[in-house]
């Protein structure tokens, strides 16, 4: 029997690898979405631990407070889809060490918090891997403005952005809006990974 579209998608995604920098409201939700979609491998990087204040938007649960985000997310990914091969780096991404963990990723997701860290990451990773697609997000804070969220593309850099959003220094981040960005990042990753495959 000929392979169906779904079989082809499953086979292609099972061979794909996505790197996620930062495991907060963006990264934890991107990871779970891609795990459920059947991604073969995830490279996840964060140095932080789960705090109670994270639970309003991040893909962790009450019993995981105090755990390293890398360990907690590995548990949650395994609960959602045990087939995913996860490589976790409990590491702070700082200028000079940002690109290394992602050398084997097919697509890289920027899911960091501070604007300066986002900018440094995009610069370093784009220079290190000019041919790898990099999907960034900006403007996740606040509860207004989901209708403004748009995708900007420049070469291999994709930015999902609410360009009128406040900084998270001034406004809280909540699950619905940051989740929208995270799922858009994950969906775009699938679209890029499945380019050339008849998916519809």
């Amino acid at each position: 029997m000929a392979n169906t579209n779904k079989d082809r998608i499953v086979a292609k995604l099972a061979k794909a690898s996505v790197g996620i920098a930062g495991l907060g409201g963006l990264g934890s939700n991107v990871a779970i979405a891609l795990a459920r979609a059947g991604i073969g491998r995830l490279l996840i990087v964060d140095f932080d631990t789960v705090e109670k204040s994270n639970l309003n938007r991040q893909a962790y649960s009450v019993d995981q407070v105090g755990m390293r985000k890398t360990e907690a997310l590995m548990q949650n990914i395994a609960r959602a889809n045990p087939e995913v091969n996860v490589t976790a780096y409990c590491q702070k991404l700082e200028t000079g060490n940002m690109a290394e963990a992602f050398s084997s990723a097919d697509v890289i997701i920027e899911a960091l918090d501070a604007a300066a860290t986002k900018a440094a990451f995009i610069e370093e990773v784009s220079l290190a891997y000019p041919s790898k697609p990099l999907i960034a997000a900006s403007g996740v804070a606040g509860i207004r403005g989901v209708e403004r969220v748009a995708l900007k593309k420049s070469g291999n850099l994709y930015l999902i952005q609410d360009d009128m959003a406040p900084s998270s220094d001034d406004s809280a981040v909540f699950a619905p809006k940051v989740g929208l960005f995270a799922h858009w990042q994950a969906s775009l990753a699938l679209e890029i990974l499945l380019e050339g495959t008849d998916v519809d």
């Binding site: 986002k118 220079l127 850099l157 900084s167």
Partner: protein, 66 residues
């Protein structure tokens, strides 16, 4: 003698650096990514990198939150 900044045509200024262009365009956001003709420009070069006539420039600003 013109450049394109975020799809809008602007005048080209001889010897203008990236920093000077950002100031001229009133891009006041502290964190931006600048690409010129598809190439990402490291921040350390903003004060010295001169914009060539005909450059296609994209400036993306970044806000904290993730």
């Amino acid at each position: 003698m013109s450049i394109e900044v975020n799809t809008v045509t602007k005048g080209w200024v001889e010897n203008e650096t990236v920093t000077e262009l950002l100031r001229r365009m009133n891009f006041i956001y502290p964190m931006v990514i600048v690409k010129i003709d598809g190439e990402i420009i490291p921040k350390a070069q903003y004060d010295v990198r001169k914009i060539k006539d005909g450059s296609v420039i994209s400036v993306l600003h970044l806000e904290s939150g993730g």
